[in-house]
Assembly symmetry: C2
Amino acid sequence: MTDRSRTLHLGLNVLSDGMHPAAWQAPYTDPLGFIRPAQWTHLARVAERGTLDAIFLADIPHLTLDASGSLGKPPLALDPIVLLSTLAGQTTHIGLIGTVSTSFEAPYNVARRFSSLDHLSGGRAAWNVVTTADAAAAANFGDTPHLPREERYARASEFVDVVRALWDSWDDDALLADKSTGRFTRPGAVRPINHRGRFFDVAGPLNLPRSPQGQPVLFQAGGSSGGLDLAARHADAVFTSQATLEDALAYTRDLRRRTAAYGRPEDAVRVMPGLSFVLGGTHAEALARSRELNELAGERRLQNFAWQIGVDVEELAWDRPLPQWLLETQTQSRNAQGARDLVLKLARREPLTVRQLLERVQSWHRLVIGSPEQLATTIEEWFVAGAVDGFNLMPDVEPSGIEAFVDHVVPILRRRGIFRREYRGSTLRDHLGLAVPAVHQREESALS
Amino acid sequence: MTDRSRTLHLGLNVLSDGMHPAAWQAPYTDPLGFIRPAQWTHLARVAERGTLDAIFLADIPHLTLDASGSLGKPPLALDPIVLLSTLAGQTTHIGLIGTVSTSFEAPYNVARRFSSLDHLSGGRAAWNVVTTADAAAAANFGDTPHLPREERYARASEFVDVVRALWDSWDDDALLADKSTGRFTRPGAVRPINHRGRFFDVAGPLNLPRSPQGQPVLFQAGGSSGGLDLAARHADAVFTSQATLEDALAYTRDLRRRTAAYGRPEDAVRVMPGLSFVLGGTHAEALARSRELNELAGERRLQNFAWQIGVDVEELAWDRPLPQWLLETQTQSRNAQGARDLVLKLARREPLTVRQLLERVQSWHRLVIGSPEQLATTIEEWFVAGAVDGFNLMPDVEPSGIEAFVDHVVPILRRRGIFRREYRGSTLRDHLGLAVPAVHQREESALS
């Protein structure tokens, strides 16, 4: 029944507390886990015990307070690179994917940090490229005015070009380290890149050798047309959000087509949408856990949802469908386009009340509330249909959600023959089935 | 004989291969150690076994090739924050000092990274603030033109102001994490900083709580007047370079005076010059090790020295003093001022040949070639005289140099009662005898 030549890919999106808005209030949660080193180490090791491909860290470089100057829940706090670097020294196989925005950094620093992480982790580093839509983040970097979307993507594209050129500024065999002759590198094997572009001038070369993966893996997140093109051109994998199998199939067909248009194999990019879940031993137990969390969150769930889809909370009622004007609108909200698009596509497909919608999606992503068998079946169904190459897992509450997944869902996926029983290789490229790219000498560097 | 109320402070400057220009060619070195995770872990653990205060990572964000496009020795390669974060997860007590230039980063990112490292290491993070004199580094960050020295220090000073304001943007008791009421933070305890300055506009607040040390420790390196003022105003410790006890005494007096002028206790700043060494079981064995390394380096030692003090190699001869015009010049070379000043002060004090100078200084720092007793005696002499609070240790070759220091010099320093036998606390502030600073509410933030 399953195509055994393909392997499912699973990442763990390690959030500060979990995807549920009341995650930190659950009786089985440490609300300060988000700043406790031991909790992060535990999460990474559980994911590695489950032979997951990678852990994934999202990022937003700002903090939004409410009117009273308070914060409602644990923020995305720790710097992803610092956290992943710490975990690199405490794990052996799991991939380490960190989000860094191209809007608030310099390419040389980003190239160097991910290359350093790749060296120190033995080839497990990946950069998730985002441009950061939120203007509140730009206010923390006020010497760089926040660019409109198209400009952000133009900058991101050049940024990635520069980073990849820096990663290729040392040949694989550049290091001689010949003690007797005193020759440390091969002449000409380390080259400046002399990049002069619209957004950046970068001389290079990078100050460290090519890393174990040749180039760290590139993830891309963001479903706009600019994001899709960036993914089709550069990415090894995408973190996307899809509420239904039909939408996922359409997205993947679109991405494959764009990827081929850039001269790459059409299946070069691993497609891994987010998958949120509330697990119980049985369906009834999962519903009970979900109900308990929802009660803790109370009306905040509705407020969050209204904010995510960019409407006033007064426009929504639990047991009514979305207002008709919203279903008919084509206007895209700026700061929450992903969530609104996702929800509207689902709500136009099926006549669901707000309550029902919130049993199907959670914060931008597909939600499954069920038993391990039910969750495994959804995963298998999407995977076998070719709609996805895997998922980025988003447990309701951490660490209990991922513990349950690894202990109860992973064994089912293994029995069904779609997920690995042990790591075959040691690098993230090995796990994702991606080849090590050859050094690509840019024309500028060849001339220098 | 020793003042037992003071404690010596020792850092290990973990270079890629060691301070000697031929370090990587020594028979007892792995020339590729600089990219091997295991070597870095080993170095950090040896330093921790020796109850050193901290390990220290220098940084220069660029790579200089020779005319043939080659590199003569292992570069300062791995990103300091990435490396220290990895080591944070593999050690328990040792402080983690990372160099980051204020010329090529954004304050929000730097504040966040060191705060993250402080959280994940349990309070062991320190930032060594530099401005990076080298224009070759600026060419890797071409959208930010390299500023002249005075401007770099003006930017650095504002940069540090912003970082410290961000570190103070959460009160110590900001986190309520009250599950029953759903209140996560105390109203008003997390504040924007609303900084508007000449170089930076930064809204804040930081997106993570105040870290275990209150603020990560601030080191400062650089001996110019601008650097001294930055240190006097902000630093908890300085990494300086002094060739003689007299120079060290004069430097420390100057720094104490400037520190008091900023309204701080005059001894608020720990003074830790670099100390390079070649150790042997006896003085004769140390001389033999030094001779062997010097033979491996050959004329490169002279070339390095000429480059460091900013003169043509043709101007120098092994067995002659420095040329008279150089001894008389007051002009400061731009890219190598520290080394030239250091050497000229020494050469004016004593009539030394180039060969003799190179037995007394190595790459900007005091050099001792001798037995463990001899090295311990130099350390004690400078410490007891009040010229220093400790040293930043710079072994000739790593890891063998620091292994010898920890195994043979540390026991002598302990017997003499000037160095700890075990860690008394768990944070770097504990080791350095620095109090946790109170939150300082800036006026801007109080108004917001």
